[in-house]
């Protein structure tokens, strides 16, 4: 199936709301209910009801008035988001979006997986939606409007189309009335009539619509063009005072970013995030990806890592996300033979990726004060650093834990220097060790020590 229509019947009411409480949209005169969400309808608030009655039924009913601009913005944002599952998206009207889904089916391993993924994303936004799937845009649209149960098998879909009521095809009222007068209300009934008869008796649009429905004639609304700049805001419903709390609103924006980048076939290289605080100040966060990336999941992993180390100075009321740098998908990351110094990763990017995959304990620094050794030994070795003897050489490798040497081995040790006594603070009851440099039998040079119990251990190699 090639075309999917997503219809958002309550978009004007539900957009950017938590939709857990009864809510209704009022007409321009603020007298009657235009739309009510399921919570409100369950309490008896239905479209057409007078506001006074509605408020008597549900005293804490939230009301809003219709806002054209807001609805358009919502529609554009959803078109961006649907770009995650389609390379071509069209806005049929502000409540209805058409997406071509055949080309991305393989990527999602089937249409059912694709719609499943889409449903999951839409449900986290708590939006009511209806899907229509068919081989032609017209049929997908009509199926969504008819609120027909979503089907995947071609036969079932053809059946569903045949059963569609004609009034959902957007025909002139006069023709509809005439057809109804003849007892013809469904597509299948109309199709049984001779074409010539229909053509001469009714408006030419009727045949055209019928052909569009079955794919005998092309109908395709213009493709949605994503804007040049990606910048999205999110008003937070409650103040956020800890950095991790920003993940949720930003996750939504990253989903839209993925759709935007998919539609434009681009990777984002650098994201900049603005946090708007209660006292009208702003904080700024930058997030970079070495090779560029469009997947929301990958950006989210980087973001999570960044926020773990980030402290909010002030509670946040609003966040915005903008893409600062793009790269086209087919643009090669670098030339084959040209030594590339311009697009090298920064060490932070490399290490952050390693950290994401292997965990933060996988990366250790080398520092004299930090020897990543067990406590007692570490302090002992730090103590060794304090000696600062110009000729007291230290081995390049430490054998950790030290290896006990056999009596036989000890008898044949060939000392070249030592002993050097290293003892950590006596009040700690720490070990005391006498260290020697030893020529090992194979020609290598070893660092060994003797503990107060006269046991010998191998502790390092000089090579």
């Amino acid at each position: 199936m090639r075309w999917l229509v997503v219809y958002f019947p309550l978009l004007a009411l539900e957009w950017e709301q938590d939709n857990a409480t009864p809510r209704a949209l009022l007409d321009s005169a603020a007298r009657r209910i235009l739309l009510a969400n399921p919570q409100a309808e369950a309490l008896g608030v239905v479209p057409g009801l007078a506001i006074a009655t509605a408020l008597a039924l549900v005293p804490d009913l939230e009301t809003a008035s219709y806002d054209d601009e807001r609805l358009n913005r919502a529609s554009q944002t959803l078109a961006l988001e649907l770009g995650r599952w389609s390379g071509r998206v069209s806005c049929i009207d502000p409540l209805t979006i058409l997406a071509e889904v055949a080309s991305m089916q393989r990527y999602f391993k089937g249409i059912e997986a694709l719609t499943g993924d889409m449903k999951q994303a839409l449900e986290t936004q708590r939006l009511s939606y209806i899907l229509g799937l068919a081989n032609t845009p017209r049929a997908a649209l009509a199926l969504a409007r008819a609120r027909v149960q979503l089907a995947y098998e071609a036969e079932t879909i053809e059946q569903q189309i045949s059963e569609l009521p004609l009034r959902l095809l957007g025909l002139p009222a006069k023709d509809l009335d005439a057809l109804r007068g003849l007892g013809i209300e469904r597509v299948v009934q109309l199709e049984r009539l001779p074409r010539q008869e229909i053509g001469s008796r009714f408006h030419p649009d009727l045949l055209k619509r019928l052909d569009q429905l079955r794919g005998k004639q092309e109908w395709l609304p213009p493709a949605f063009k994503p804007p040049e700049i990606f910048e999205q805001h999110a008003d937070l419903q409650a103040e956020i005072s800890y950095a991790q709390g920003l993940l949720f609103p930003l996750q939504r924006i990253l989903g839209r970013l993925e759709g935007y980048l998919n539609l434009r076939q681009q990777h984002a290289l650098v994201l900049s995030i603005n946090l708007f605080h209660r006292d009208k100040t702003q904080s700024h966060l930058r997030l970079g990806h070495a090779g560029g990336c469009y997947k929301a999941q990958e950006w989210l992993a980087l973001l999570r890592l960044k926020l773990e180390r980030y402290r909010l100075t002030q509670p946040v009321l609003e966040v915005s996300l903008r893409v600062d740098q793009f790269r086209d998908w087919d643009e090669p990351a670098r030339d084959l033979f040209e030594p590339n110094t311009t697009r090298a990763e920064t060490p932070e990017q490399l290490l952050s990726r390693i950290q994401i995959r292997l965990g933060s304990s996988a990366i250790n620094e080398l520092a004299i004060s930090h020897t990543h050794l067990p406590g007692g030994v570490a302090s002992l070795l730090e103590r060794a650093a304090d000696h600062r003897l110009p000729y007291a050489q230290r081995p390049l490798w430490l054998v950790e834990p030290p290896q006990r040497l056999s009596r036989k081995r000890v008898e044949h040790l060939n000392f070249s220097s030592g002993p050097e006594r290293i003892q950590s603070d006596w009040w700690n009851d720490a070990p005391r060790r006498d260290y020697f440099t030893v020529d090992w039998s194979d020609g290598r040079c070893a660092w060994v020590f003797r503990d107060p119990q006269q046991n010998w251990y191998l502790h390092g190699w000089f090579s």
């Binding site: 670098r334 292997l358 000696h387 000729y391 050489q393 390049l396 070249s416 030592g418 440099t437």
Partner: protein, 225 residues
């Protein structure tokens, strides 16, 4: 006939010839710190190529071999990555040798796959001046991936493996075998770029001599103070 076809293809620019690539400037080679070895390597370590060090056992001189390079390279910014070394590099000893420790990172992985992944990422990134990885039995294809990655990132890449792998073919551009002998470590070049294999020099292994009594005396002096 074949030659003629090839000549035509070259004229059409459809065949890429290694000689057409601008020769790498000699100054991009990094001296090893051992004059005789520099000679064998035509000037020093070559960035952008995989260099394999084959050792009979750990600490057979591989770190002594690289110490002058580490000292030199660590003075400039750029990560120096140790990927799964078999023991702990001792920061104090490195510092004594003049190595700056700031940009060193020791990475510990849980599996060969992770190890190869980290190496590839580090080599590709272009932000690691030196990547040292300890590998053993890995498929030749994995080494080839690393060779491609280092070509991309232009850093210095060393893989330390067991001498037992000397007979296995390797895509590395340089293969050096280290053998410990009573007078030091013998470095043989099993494979090098655009040249025959050659027996190499013997490098010193011993720690600089330090008289027993001097160490004891100075400890005593320090105590007295």
């Amino acid at each position: 006939m074949a030659v003629k076809v090839l000549a035509e293809l070259i004229e059409q620019g459809q065949v890429w010839r290694a000689q057409d690539v601008p020769a790498r400037a000699a100054q991009s080679l990094l001296p090893t710190g051992y004059a005789e070895l520099d000679q064998c390597l035509a000037g020093g370590w070559m960035p952008g190529q995989l260099i394999e060090l084959l050792v009979e056992q750990n600490s057979s001189g591989e770190l002594r071999l690289l110490l002058p390079l580490l000292t030199q390279v660590s003075q400039k910014p750029g990560l120096i990555m140790w990927i799964d070394p078999p023991m702990h590099p001792y920061p104090l000893a490195l510092a004594q040798a003049g190595v700056r420790l700031r940009d060193h990172r020791v990475i510990r992985t849980q599996s060969v796959e992770e190890r190869l992944w980290v190496m590839e990422q580090a080599l590709k990134s272009g932000c690691a001046s030196i990547v040292m990885g300890w590998l053993d039995k890995v498929p030749v294809a994995a080494l080839r991936r690393l060779q491609l990655a280092v070509h991309q990132g232009e850093g210095l890449a060393f893989v330390v493996r067991s001498s037992a792998m000397a007979n296995q073919p390797s895509p590395a551009s340089f293969r050096l075998q280290l053998k410990v002998q009573p007078d030091g470590v013998k470095v043989d070049l099993l494979k090098r770029r655009q040249a025959w294999a050659v027996e190499g020099p013997v490098l010193p292994l011993k720690a600089p001599a330090m008289a027993l009594n001097r160490v004891i005396n100075s400890t005593a002096t320090k105590r007295a103070i």
